[in-house]
């Protein structure tokens, strides 16, 4: 198989472009989208690449339709993706819930811009964190990944597809305008270096009868995709193991939802990923995700030069959330700072994880600019004075 971009080598590309290339390497062959800044470049790259790899990229009439088509294509058997930003992300919420309820693997990229509403279309923000995790109604779980560099955008896109297929769930790649539009050096692995995961299909007709039953004891049912004569019944209504709607039986609802939540929660170890710097002896720990951790890293290094024992925890996975990790850090640190490009979202999860063991302080910033290392340093030093 040949690719319409260099593989097994480095290139100098935008984050959005990296996501498109990585998706194709991960085996994505269906993309549906609707134009929106700062995610359009993913769509435009997909439009060029897809026909060259026997795939399809189509423009729908809105983002509701985009994610709907992606769910449909996933049930048709294709690895599928869509990408958007704030306003479109909001429109996708209902069908994202449908994907969770029907356990449909898909990747949804949100190149965050600042909101609410149309907000600042070209500027980065991290204001959609809570929406990514909790935006659709009802109890649920899903997976949220957050890249800080163009290389991570590339690698995490591949990871997003693998996790989506492995756990039969939507995965959100929560990036932002800064990572999306920035150009950096990226190593695109050769396909032979990649370990790709494909959804588990039913081994026989008997297994196909239980598209929503934990028949393997791993909480993830095999997926009887359409077109194979299984007569699969898929509904967003509460359903039993066979997919039949059961809308008033509380035990069935509880059983279904608990499995959907537990298949993510119980595999936290496999899914969660983070990077620590200086955490061994850090008295002050900065916690963050995405682009702003690059400023935070610089701040930590500067603080250390000044003799302040600072450390950084960069979260690569935001859901499932590793509350225990935060608690372990809180047990050792003297103070935790949360840096984020919003008015406090990750902050609340960190506070919950820290469990009162250590003061947690928010260093927020909105308006489209990333915190400078200096801003972070000054805030921390002010407190030390």
């Amino acid at each position: 198989m040949r690719y319409p971009f260099p593989v097994g080598t480095v290139d100098f590309i935008q984050g959005d472009e990296a996501i498109a290339r990585a998706a194709i390497l991960a085996g994505c062959r269906f993309y549906a989208g609707y134009p929106i800044t700062p995610a359009s470049e993913i769509f435009e790259a997909m439009s060029i690449y897809m026909p060259l790899v026997d795939g399809v990229s189509i423009q729908m009439e809105d983002e509701i339709g985009s994610i709907a088509a992606v769910v449909g294509a996933s049930w048709a058997g294709a690895k599928s993706m869509t990408a958007t930003s704030g306003p479109g992300f909001s429109l996708m919420m209902e069908n994202l819930g449908y994907a969770i309820m029907t356990e449909t693997p898909l990747v949804l990229v949100n190149v965050q811009r600042s909101g609410p509403s149309t907000g600042q279309p070209t500027l980065a923000a991290q204001g959609d964190l809570m929406q990514a995790i909790w935006g659709t109604h009802g109890d649920h779980s899903l997976i949220v990944l957050a890249p800080a560099t163009v290389q991570e955008a590339f690698d995490m896109t591949i990871k997003a597809f693998n996790l989506a297929e492995k756990y039969r769930t939507p995965v959100i790649l929560l990036t932002d305008a800064e990572v999306g539009h920035m150009r950096e050096r990226v190593y695109a692995p050769h396909p032979d270096e990649l370990e790709l995961i494909y959804r588990k299909l039913p081994a026989n007709e008997e297994e196909a009868k239980y598209p929503f039953g934990d028949i393997h004891g791993d909480l993830v049912p095999p997926m009887p995709v359409f077109g194979k004569g299984h007569h699969t019944y898929v509904t967003g209504l509460t359903h039993d193991e066979k997919g039949r709607p059961k809308t008033v039986e509380s035990e069935i609802h509880e059983k279904l939802l608990k499995r959907i939540v537990e298949k993510i929660e119980k595999n936290k170890k496999d899914i969660v990923d983070y990077e620590g710097y200086g955490l061994e002896d850090a008295e002050i720990v900065i916690i963050g995700f995405g682009i702003v951790t690059r400023s935070a890293m610089r701040a930590v290094k500067e603080l250390r030069k000044k003799g302040i024992k600072a450390g950084l925890l960069k979260l690569n996975v935001l859901w499932p959330f590793d509350f225990e990790l935060i608690e372990r850090i809180a047990e050792k640190a003297g103070k935790i700072y949360v840096v984020e490009m919003n008015l406090g979202q990750l902050y609340h999860m960190v506070k919950e994880g820290a469990n009162g063991k250590v003061p947690v302080e928010l260093i927020p910033k909105i308006g489209g600019e990333i915190h400078t290392p200096k801003e972070i340093i000054e805030r921390i030093k002010d407190n030390l004075r």
């Binding site: 040949r2 294509a73 048709a76 069908n95 004569g229």
Partner: protein, 287 residues
């Protein structure tokens, strides 16, 4: 009695038996549409394994799922056609059918309907128009006749109904027909044609909801509603020579359009061929 139905009703083999009896009210037109669809599938000799049936939310959506025995995708309110678009692109060799209500497909989902027709994607849509939001208790719909009584237009409806079949014709569909549940044979024939045409096909099935619509509009029984369909329907050939005044309140039935046009998934596939021919991948990789 149920067993008898399974042996005597030939179309029962196309239904999910565990989902029967249906939850539709006695006398609901939905059963007629389900029957017409099953007969069309049967007469065309389509193997249900080659079918994917997609629906939205509403009483009419249940015709497809859970009642029909095929791969079925029961989606969110209004979005069935968008979901079906992904299914059809992923499985271009399968017959993809959408069955849903007027509120679902022409109200909240109207934009998907128009744009799927414009794309001329090979999906057959059976739109069950009962002039009302049936499932939610009889609220006014974009199809409710002017002046009709509903639970959210309790004095009278001051809006004008959308002419769905004409809208979809203008949007570019390959095939559009409208019949009522009174015209069962014609309905079956049109569904058969819709399934055979390459391109977007809409069959608007005017259907009775005696419980939520008829009851409040001086047609308490299903029979009264069917009689209304019978008396009020005008064949399209005749309607062409009638003035707008004469057509006021009439149901124009028949085939609105049946035309050949390039189809979306075929175009996508020929695009892939063209692109790989002209821009095919040379030795540009580092491998």
């Amino acid at each position: 009695m149920a067993k008898e139905i399974y042996t005597k009703y030939k179309m029962a083999k196309y239904l999910r038996k565990e989902a029967l009896p249906t939850a539709l009210c006695p006398g609901c037109g939905g059963g007629t549409v389900l029957n017409a669809f099953a007969n069309a599938i049967d007469q065309l000799g389509i193997d249900p394994r080659d079918l994917v049936v997609v629906s939205g939310i509403g009483c009419s959506a249940w015709i497809a799922s859970p009642y029909f025995l095929a791969d079925t995708l029961h989606t969110t309110h209004g979005r069935a056609i968008a979901y079906a678009t992904g299914v059809k692109v992923g499985l271009p060799d399968k017959k993809v059918v959408v069955i849903s209500g007027d509120g679902d497909l022409a109200g909240i989902g109207g934009n998907h309907l128009i744009h799927a027709a414009r794309r001329n994607i090979d999906i057959t849509v059976i739109l069950v128009n009962n002039f009302i939001y049936g499932m939610t208790g009889g609220q006014v719909a974009p199809t409710t006749p002017f002046g009709a009584i509903t639970t959210t237009s309790p004095y009278r409806n001051v809006e004008h109904p959308l002419n769905i079949a004409e809208t979809v014709t203008s949007a570019g569909a390959s095939y559009v027909a409208r019949w009522t549940t009174f015209h069962v044979y014609q309905l079956i024939e049109s569904i058969k044609r819709a399934l055979s045409v390459k391109g977007f096909a809409l069959v608007e099935a005017i259907s009775q909801c005696p419980v939520q619509f008829g009851r409040r509009n001086r047609m308490k029984t299903p029979t009264e509603m069917l009689r209304w369909f019978q008396r009020n329907s005008v064949l399209i050939s005749k309607a062409r020579n009638m003035s707008p005044n004469e057509l006021e309140g009439k149901i124009v039935v028949g085939e609105l359009v049946n035309r050949e046009k390039p189809e979306f998934t075929e175009e996508l596939n020929s695009l892939i061929e063209e692109v790989s021919k002209h821009y095919g991948l040379g030795d540009n990789n580092a491998d």
